[in-house]
């Protein structure tokens, strides 16, 4: 794909602004779906507006400016615009694909933001965006005696992901998760220090070649292991495996891909794990974009748009359309509900309409004020439910929401789903 191929899609935009709003809002307060326009206000920050920017670039009507780059990159690439746009326009416009290509074009033109270049340098150097030594990736597993899947065969490849592996606050949950799998007699292994980023972040930032290199390396590692199932603890990698790899032409060889929440849910439903009571809590669940609408399986399409009925355009051959509805929404909720004493209350924007936490797409690194405002908005929505705990199944979301909750003095506790389970499952 290229930005040029996006032109016919951008041309289909009727500027209805649906990309800014929930298809059917339940209140004025939480009617927005797009953190970027909520922050930047000018239309150029909306998905439609970014499309017009791309179009104007293709028509040589504009050049690069700080404000242009800000409108492109003060965006979490959460994909809510894409879901909303499809309320009425199906696959006519698909704004998220345009955003991917717009960012790739900026990278090719050498105009990336310094904060993003630093992330990419780290990924190139040590395989994680934090710049931490690759030898420290498996520290969380020290003393656990886990099978090294690069040397021994196992049914399940347990993929950890960068944020869980390097964030010490996540280690207890990871260790507990490993214990659970052992208790359930799952034959699994980990790749330890050999694991590296799956390329999801690089793809979001527009560095598609880096993303492809990382994806290929990850796929090689996983396929070589001979495992039948790939279970990842990282929401970003889950989206990369299911949605990003096919975009980059990288195959996992038909491996079954699950998020850890789906796998634990299966184990509980199979009776191999049994939850026990936890403390009473009113909980609201934050759907991470990468675990939800961005994790739908992408199928590459090659074909043409054919004119029928005089002026209507259809895809030939038909193409699969992603509406955001097939993300991993139910397993996390079932896991929460499996804990006695936990009552789950939904936020107005949930599942495919979930509002982003603000951390993704390189936004936190490049525009921290934007990321903080977005998290603040999401916390406000969670608080409005009356819940005392906000649970999420993405380490990046959890880390960011938790930091902003502390900074803004929110009474809400932000917890990881594994952490909740950790306290409740035997």
């Amino acid at each position: 794909m290229s930005l040029e191929t996006r032109k016919r899609y951008i041309e289909r935009c009727p500027r209805c602004s649906q990309c800014k709003w929930l298809p059917a809002p339940k209140s004025q307060r939480f009617a927005s779906v797009c953190p970027s326009i909520q922050y930047g206000n000018f239309h150029s920050y909306s998905a439609g507006g970014k499309g017009f920017t791309a179009y104007a670039m293709l028509e040589n009507r504009i050049g690069y400016s700080a404000e242009m780059l800000r409108s492109v990159f003060a965006c979490t690439m959460c994909g809510a615009c894409d879901t909303s746009c499809k309320t009425n326009f199906g696959d006519n416009i698909e704004p998220l694909d345009t955003l991917y290509e717009l960012r790739a074009r900026v990278v090719r033109d050498g105009k990336s933001l310094p904060a993003h270049v630093e992330l990419i340098d780290n990924l190139r150097r040590v395989g994680n965006p934090f710049g931490k030594p690759s030898q420290e990736r498996a520290r969380w597993a020290e003393g656990l005696n886990l099978k090294d899947i690069t040397k021994q065969r196992a049914d399940v490849f347990l993929h950890i992901g960068c944020t869980p592996a390097y964030d010490e606050a996540e280690w207890r949950s990871l260790q507990f998760c490993a214990e659970l799998l052992k208790n359930a007699k799952v034959d699994f292994g980990v790749a330890g220090n050999a694991e590296q980023s799956s390329g999801g972040l690089a793809f979001d930032l527009g560095f598609q070649e880096d993303a492809r290199r990382l994806a290929e390396a990850s796929a090689k590692l996983v396929v070589a292991s001979g495992a039948k199932t790939l279970v990842t603890c990282c929401a970003e990698s889950y989206a990369a495996f299911k949605n990003g790899f096919p975009r980059l032409g990288v195959s996992l060889g038909g491996l079954r891909v699950l998020h850890i929440t789906e796998y634990l849910d299966e184990l509980i439903r199979d009776g191999r794990l049994k939850p026990r009571s936890s403390a009473n809590a009113l909980v609201t669940y934050h759907d991470p974009c990468k675990l939800g609408r961005l994790s739908e399986t992408y199928t590459p399409w090659q074909g043409e748009w054919r004119r029928v009925l005089n002026v209507m355009y259809i895809a030939v051959p038909p193409r699969p359309v992603l509406y955001g509805t097939e993300g991993n929404y139910d397993a996390p909720r079932r896991l929460l509900q499996s804990i006695a004493g936990v009552e789950v209350v939904e936020m107005e924007r949930s599942r495919e309409y979930s509002y982003c936490c603000g951390a993704g797409g390189g936004a936190k690194e490049a525009y921290p004020d934007f990321a903080e405002k977005t998290a603040g908005d999401r916390l406000t929505e969670a608080e409005a439910t009356g819940a005392s705990v906000m649970v999420t199944a993405c380490a990046t979301c959890q880390r960011h929401l938790s930091a902003v909750a502390n900074k803004q003095g929110s009474k809400l506790r932000v917890k990881g789903l594994l952490e909740m389970l950790c306290e409740a499952v035997v």
């Binding site: 009727p14 104007a56 005089n310 002026v311």
Partner: protein
């Protein structure tokens, strides 16, 4: 001509730093030519983008912007949610005033059934908040993302739930207006400090003068706050949805019922319309052209085409004589007894008028009911090609219904048939309903292809031919889409209303501060003088091939070649 440093400084002092931009990419994002109001021309990006964009947060800041514009000789054009292309500027030295930061619902007055709102409150937001108080709002054809304030003050705002939610021309109550000369005026009851409940007074009452029926399309000052009528909503405080995005439906509330009713002739439809309106049983009564139902019941063009080409369209989406002369009706009741009563009335009307009920599947029922209550799927008329136009918009007595339907068919004529220039949709493409539960509103909406010059040319030809038909026949009602120069061409059909519109424009926009693209210009275009002669030639049957070629030519070179460049 870029914004001067001094002008930029003055605008920043009006709205605050960070709320003004003269960046070319930002400006270009306000120059999109597509969708509703999109001109039938080849380029999606307007040749003339705004030279700056400002984001005022309140009325005083709006006034500051207008005064800065007057001081620096800059034209301005405001917009609320900026739906389609009605908000684009046309002058080379114009800024866009984006009212996005003015998004407050000041009040929902449950007992007096009204709200006080700012420009960037969307219909979807207002409806969600109003329903919590047992009220509902009108939602125009643009759908949930439009601004009720913009629609009520400056456009011809009309939507499918008009049976019980009126129309926005008349839903406007008190209003606050920053004139093109930079004064802040309060009109109607807000002008006497007695609240927002009335557009006429107590207080200065010239609501009609500054909006008329068509509205000024943001080209006569900036409206900043209005009182707005709300209507009783007997349903739940929150709509319960069912199904899967994007094919969401609504769980039909207890005591509500959805009917899809069909007749064999428009005369019978007309008879039934009077009886239904007199009975008052309908909460929503609307006729949607079958192919638009086809769009609503499918998520993509491919889905629709598959249904059509495989002969699997449900009855509601069939454009044959058995299924196209219809009303879809939602009844709402507060008790089982009331629901039973309404059901009996509907059955009686069907029996009296040779009508019948067409059954819908439960999924389709929920989807259609949701569509009727929220208008959510109306924008799908733009899905086939992302370009649509209209030839007819008629406010009239229901007695005109058969004649109007026939005229619509004639107008779309060959172009809607295979090989034509418009979408092969339903034969007249009319959306109709009883506005305010009484008089007929009907409007057709058809798709064309902006990338094909002949298709664009056909739209221009259609606009002229239709307006001429209304004027010549004099019996097809009021044409409400005579925007821009069309208003001048066909003014005599509306008692020369443009004479008065121009006086209003000249009086209030003394400095010629605003764009005149859709509303009337201060001076009539030169071609208006020759129009009476031209029209006699243009619409002659023997001249038709030349007329078609002319319109295609202007669709390629742009209408400005005909109208002259704007100053």
């Amino acid at each position: 001509m870029p914004l001067t440093a001094e002008a930029l400084r003055d605008l920043e002092s009006a709205v605050g730093k960070g709320n003004v931009s003269d960046d070319s990419s930002t400006c270009m994002s306000y120059a999109w030519n597509a969708g509703l109001g999109g001109m039938p021309k080849p380029n999606r990006l307007a040749v003339v983008p705004p030279i700056g964009v400002v984001l005022p947060a309140n009325t005083e800041q709006v006034q500051g912007v207008v005064k800065a514009c007057l001081k620096h000789g800059i034209k301005f054009k405001p917009h609320s949610t900026g739906y389609g292309s009605l908000a684009t500027v046309a002058s080379p030295n114009a800024i866009s005033v984006d009212l996005r930061r003015m998004n407050r619902i000041h009040e929902i007055d449950e007992r007096n059934q009204m709200a006080v709102i700012e420009p960037y409150v969307t219909a979807g937001q207002l409806q969600a908040e109003a329903m919590k108080s047992g009220l509902n709002c009108h939602i125009v054809g643009a759908g949930l993302t439009h601004s009720p304030l913009a629609s009520a003050t400056a456009c011809f705002g009309i939507g499918i739930s008009g049976t019980t939610t009126g129309n926005n021309v008349r839903n406007l109550l008190g209003l606050e207006w920053v004139t093109p000369n930079g004064e802040i005026l309060n009109i109607g009851s807000s002008g006497s400090g007695s609240g927002w409940f009335s557009g006429e007074g107590p207080g200065p009452g010239f609501r009609g003068m500054i909006r008329g029926i068509t509205g000024t399309m943001g080209e006569l000052g900036i409206f900043t706050k209005i009182g707005y009528k709300l209507y009783p909503w007997p349903g739940p405080k929150k709509l319960e949805t069912m199904g899967k995005h994007p094919q969401l439906g609504m769980r039909i509330p207890e005591h509500f019922r959805l009917y899809h009713l069909a007749w064999q002739s428009w005369e019978d439809v007309t008879k039934a319309s009077y009886e239904i309106n007199q009975s008052g049983v309908a909460y929503v009564l609307v006729r949607i052209p079958p192919n638009s139902y086809g769009m609503a019941l499918s998520a993509t063009n491919n889905d629709y085409y598959d249904l059509l080409s495989q002969g699997r369209l449900p009855d509601i989406a069939k454009d044959d004589d058995q299924h196209r002369m219809t009303w879809t009706m939602l009844t709402a009741a507060s008790s089982a007894a009331e629901a039973r009563y309404k059901e009996r009335v509907v059955k009686g009307i069907l029996a009296n008028t040779n009508g019948r009920e067409i059954a819908l599947s439960p999924d389709h029922e929920g989807l259609v009911a949701y569509f009727l209550v929220t208008s959510i799927y109306i924008p799908r008329v733009l899905r086939p090609s992302s370009a649509m136009s209209t030839s007819f918009g008629v406010l009239e007595s229901f007695s005109k219904l058969p004649e109007v339907m026939k005229a619509g068919e004639v107008c779309l004529g060959e172009d809607i048939k295979p090989g034509g220039m418009f979408m092969q949709g339903s034969r007249e493409e009319f959306w109709s309903w009883p506005s305010e539960g009484r008089h007929l509103w009907t409007e057709n909406a058809f798709s064309y292809d902006v990338n094909i010059p002949e298709s664009r040319g056909a739209v221009l030809r259609m606009a002229l031919e239709h307006d001429d038909m209304v004027q010549t026949k004099g019996s097809l009602g009021v044409e409400v889409f005579a925007l821009g120069p069309l208003a001048d061409f066909f003014s005599s059909a509306s008692s020369n209303a443009t004479l008065w519109m121009r006086k209003v424009k000249q009086r209030f926009d003394g400095h010629n501060a605003q764009d005149a693209q859709f509303f009337i210009s201060r001076e009539a275009p030169w071609i208006t003088k020759y129009w009476p002669f031209l029209r006699r030639v243009l619409f002659l049957r023997i001249f038709r091939p030349v007329f078609k070629r002319m319109m295609t030519h202007f669709a390629i070179v742009g209408l400005q070649a005909l109208m002259g460049k704007r100053k």
